[in-house]
């Protein structure tokens, strides 16, 4: 979506209409005041509608207007004081717009309202309006609290407008629409998105965050108030059915019901766990991925796969679960260790090899290795990298949501990688194994005459620059690696399926590779 709406909510007298009109003018957006729109359509003023048709009728009109405006873009929407307090309205408008709640002190509100003679304020037709304002504000405080606040007290409307434009444009989110298995959702990439997650994902009901004990303390609070935060120990070894069981137990204990939404906040282990739990808890609840690692952002959070490990291997059990949104806050990458960052780069490089030669050239030309404690590159570059890398996977999974064909291509390097990881008992990182697997795939492709031998020579320095290995550790038993590949769930009737390269950006599937050629390739890559 190029021009997301801006939705202004807040108490009466906080300047929604005044600021809204100025915002619309500066951004070249349309402006809609929901109360005015309703009055125009009904041919009656709001107090008349309340009197003649009742409040229920008015709320229904608000609902209709909210749904209608949610389908438009490029509109600044100034909402009636209570419109956004309806969860359905808030969910609809948040889906396509950024919501801001304007706030002011009661004194200032009374002052502004008294000076404004264009509106009737039936709610304030009481002997002591000040007392009434304080009372109403207290009632609604919690509901308004779910939206990002913009203080307007002692600011001119122009100053408020400029502040909002600053917030809105400082890091314009990049949004990519994804259609998977008949469901439509958005992948939103930006810096500092976590505080807006509930709005961006359009969540209306109860929320449970599933995260790990590394990520939770850092970011769970950023997501605003939620109904449950479930923390699991970090690491692949905890992506088990036992952990699924423990999470479900905690959800039951918290009274988490079918109308709830699970937010998976963390790396790829969390994506898998949260995804699987959301797929099976009460036969399915809504899921929002908030990936906090590069690997999870460019890979695991896309495509709706949720996998759980068995003692016999990785992701041997799982489900397809499409999220309602993916919100990738690249600011969270700042807390990644250099090794984790490199691990994610392995998938970025894989994506470029599969279907984006330009991205490969871009990575080749840049320097992506992270030095300890510093974030290289800067946030906007990271955002751009993530936004481009996800396109490859999104394109492919959209064509094949249930992994029955083209999606195999995403396994480039992974047939090797999964087997190597398994034989090492997961003592090396997934990204490291993928890097070895990518070199193996390029090498095998060259051995079989599908691509030039130069391809792997071009690939290796790119991996090394990203802090990744290009050789298989000497202690690894290659016979066991081959056996593990044969047992992989991608293998059909014992035939191993490889993704091979013709060139950078051009790959294909083959299940006719002989054992001998695979073994020789592996031998050659041994350190």
């Amino acid at each position: 979506m190029d021009r997301p709406n801006i939705v202004l909510t807040g108490f009466m007298g906080t300047g929604k209409t005044t600021v809204g009109k100025k915002l619309a003018q500066q951004l070249d957006y349309a402006f809609v005041d929901t109360d005015e729109l309703i009055q125009e359509r009904a041919g009656k003023t709001v107090p008349e509608i309340f009197q003649e048709m009742g409040e229920v009728a008015f709320r229904e009109m608000e609902g209709a207007v909210a749904r209608e405006l949610a389908d438009r873009q490029g509109v600044v929407i100034s909402t009636g004081g209570r419109l956004m307090l309806d969860p359905g309205n808030a969910a609809a408008l948040s889906r396509t717009g950024r919501v801001f709640c304007l706030v002011a002190t009661p004194e200032e509100i009374l002052d502004r309202v008294s000076r404004d003679t264009t509106h009737e304020r039936p709610l304030l037709a009481v002997p002591d309006p000040m007392e009434r304002i304080v009372e109403l504000m207290q009632q609604r405080q919690e509901d308004y609290g779910q939206f990002p606040q913009m203080v307007t007290s002692e600011k001119t409307p122009d100053a408020v407008t400029n502040n909002l434009i600053g917030l809105f444009q400082a890091n314009p989110d990049q949004r990519v629409s994804i259609t998977g298995a008949g469901k439509h959702y958005e992948y939103i990439v930006g810096g500092g998105l976590l505080p807006f997650v509930k709005n961006l994902a359009g969540i209306a009901g109860p929320v449970a965050i599933i995260t790990d004990t590394n990520t939770g303390p850092l970011y769970a609070q950023s997501c605003g108030p939620v109904d449950a935060v479930i923390q699991v120990p970090p690491g692949q070894q905890h992506k088990t059915l036992t952990m699924v069981q423990s999470i479900c137990e905690q959800l039951i204990e918290k009274g988490f019901e079918r109308n709830g939404t699970i937010i998976g906040l963390g790396g790829s282990v969390i994506s898998g766990l949260a995804g699987f739990v959301a797929a099976v808890y009460m036969r399915g609840v809504d899921l929002v991925h908030c990936p906090t690692s590069l690997l999870a952002m460019v890979d695991t959070s896309i495509g709706g796969k949720a996998g759980i490990n068995l003692p016999q291997g990785k992701n041997l059990v799982g489900a397809f679960k499409q999220p309602t949104a993916v919100i990738a806050d690249v600011a969270t990458l700042q807390s990644l260790s250099p090794e984790e960052f490199s691990s994610g780069m392995a998938e970025v490089i894989k994506h470029s090899l599969i279907d984006d030669a330009a991205l490969f050239a871009q990575i080749e030309g840049g320097s992506w290795a992270r030095e300890a404690g510093t974030l290289v590159p800067p946030l906007p570059d990271l955002q751009a990298l993530v936004a481009q890398a996800i396109q490859v996977k999104i394109r492919i999974v959209q064509e094949d949501p249930f992994d029955r064909g083209r999606r195999n291509l995403l396994n480039l390097g992974h047939t090797f990688a999964h087997a190597i990881e398994q034989v090492c008992e997961h003592t090396i990182r997934h990204g490291e194994a993928v890097a070895m697997g990518l070199v193996a795939a390029a090498s095998l492709s060259a051995r079989l005459g599908h691509c030039a031998p130069e391809l792997q020579e071009r690939l290796k320095p790119v991996l090394v620059d990203a802090g990744l290995p290009v050789r298989i550790p000497a202690h690894i038993d290659l016979f066991r690696v081959y056996e593990a590949m044969r047992r992989d769930k991608k293998a059909a009737s014992g035939r191993i399926r490889f993704i091979l390269l013709r060139a950078i950006g051009d790959v294909f599937v083959s299940d006719t590779v002989e054992r001998e050629q695979v073994m020789e390739t592996l031998e050659n890559l041994k350190a």
Binding site: G182, L241, Q245, C248, E249, I252, E257, R258, N259, A279, V280, Y281, M282, R283, G284, K305, A306, G307, I308, L310, Q312, G313, N315, L316, V317, G318, A319, F320, F402, D403, R487, K489, K490, A491, A492, S493, G494
Partner: protein, 340 residues
């Protein structure tokens, strides 16, 4: 044999009513299937199974756990079953529920089908795409929605069913007729003795009609947002009564339908005559109409149903025989219901 094709969000299912187990291999891919069944079915019918590995589980609701599922995963791994395998559950509702869940999650989903061996499984558990296991004291707390490729309903096995199991199936058949098909209801009234005797022709029509009704409702709403709730007629009370008194499911549903019909009549949605017709039919089929139970405990159990939302309960009421509505009823109103 009658055949029905249903199209759901998760794929299409072929339902074969009156197709015997011994014809199973006609509906399978060429590779031998992996069969999941329970001890009982295995003991009586193993000689009719097609060639293929058989995984046997115990019987009873207590076997429907993640532990059983884990044990089956283990066995599948030992068999080196890959993504191209086909799993067939041969048994009643419990076998279907477990098989559906295992097949939907093993390797993120493999092909699967059912041979439903009980009347209840044939008219209920085998269609609709729901599967799951019990967890934390709640039924079907963990599961997925996923349609099997095919369901065989072997009617020749039904006469060997124990009385209790037969009642369960008949109660669901009455439910389907009552909520959606006045003609079927009349047919049931005319043929109740034959239905009770499991007459081949009558049962074939009743199973088929039930499947049409259930699959139509399910197709409208694969995710229980609204339409599917209709299938809970008699079950809201039924589950609570079952939990509190321990009566078999079919009997509990029968009692639940009687209570729901009374509520419908009190609200003027059906006449006293229609209420009587439902009771008469249930009685003819040997199903109980009432039972003394602890009212407070039943109401408490109602509040704990996992489908509960807040202070009221989604309730299915008849709106004339052969039609129904779903409505929210405050728990307070249920307290006033005589006989409850």
């Amino acid at each position: 044999m009658k055949q029905l094709q249903i199209q759901g969000a998760s794929g299409s299912s072929t339902l074969l009513v009156g197709e015997p187990l011994r014809h199973l291999s006609r509906h399978l891919p060429s590779r031998p299937p992996i069969i999941i069944t329970d001890e009982n079915v295995h003991r009586h019918y193993a000689d009719q199974f097609p060639a293929g590995h058989v995984i046997t589980i115990g019987s009873g609701e207590t076997i429907k756990t993640l532990d059983t599922v884990t044990r089956i995963y283990d066995e599948l791994m030992q068999l080196e079953a890959d993504r191209s395998c086909c799993i067939v559950g041969i048994g009643g509702g419990i076998v279907c529920d477990i098989t559906g869940f295992v097949a939907s999650t093993y390797m993120r989903g493999v092909r699967f089908g059912f041979v439903a061996t009980t009347l209840l499984a044939q008219v209920d558990a085998s269609v609709g795409g729901k599967n799951g296991v019990n967890f934390g004291g709640y039924k079907n707390m963990v599961g997925t929605f996923n349609q099997p490729d095919f369901v065989l309903c072997d009617l020749e096995m039904l006469p060997s069913l124990p009385e209790e199991q037969r009642q369960c199936g008949l109660a669901e058949i009455v439910k389907h007729a009552a909520i959606a098909d006045a003609d079927m209801f009349a047919y049931l009234e005319q043929n109740a003795p034959l239905a009770l005797a499991l007459d081949r022709e009558v049962i074939e029509r009743l199973v088929y009609d039930s499947l049409v009704i259930k699959s139509t409702i399910v197709n409208h709403d694969e995710k229980e947002a609204g339409e599917r709730r209709k299938l809970n007629f008699g079950h809201t009370f039924g589950h609570a009564v079952e939990k509190v008194t321990g009566v078999p499911h079919g009997q509990a549903v029968s009692i639940g339908m009687v209570l729901a019909a009374r509520l419908s009549r009190r609200r003027g949605l059906i006449t006293a005559h229609e209420e009587q017709r439902l009771q008469d039919l249930l009685a003819q089929l040997g199903l109980p109409l009432r039972k003394t139970f602890d009212q407070k405990a039943v109401l408490e159990a109602l509040g704990k149903d996992k489908k509960r939302e807040k202070e009221s309960v989604h309730f299915v009421l008849l709106n004339g025989l052969g039609n129904c509505i779903v409505t929210d009823i405050p728990l307070a109103e249920l307290r006033e219901l005589p006989g409850c």
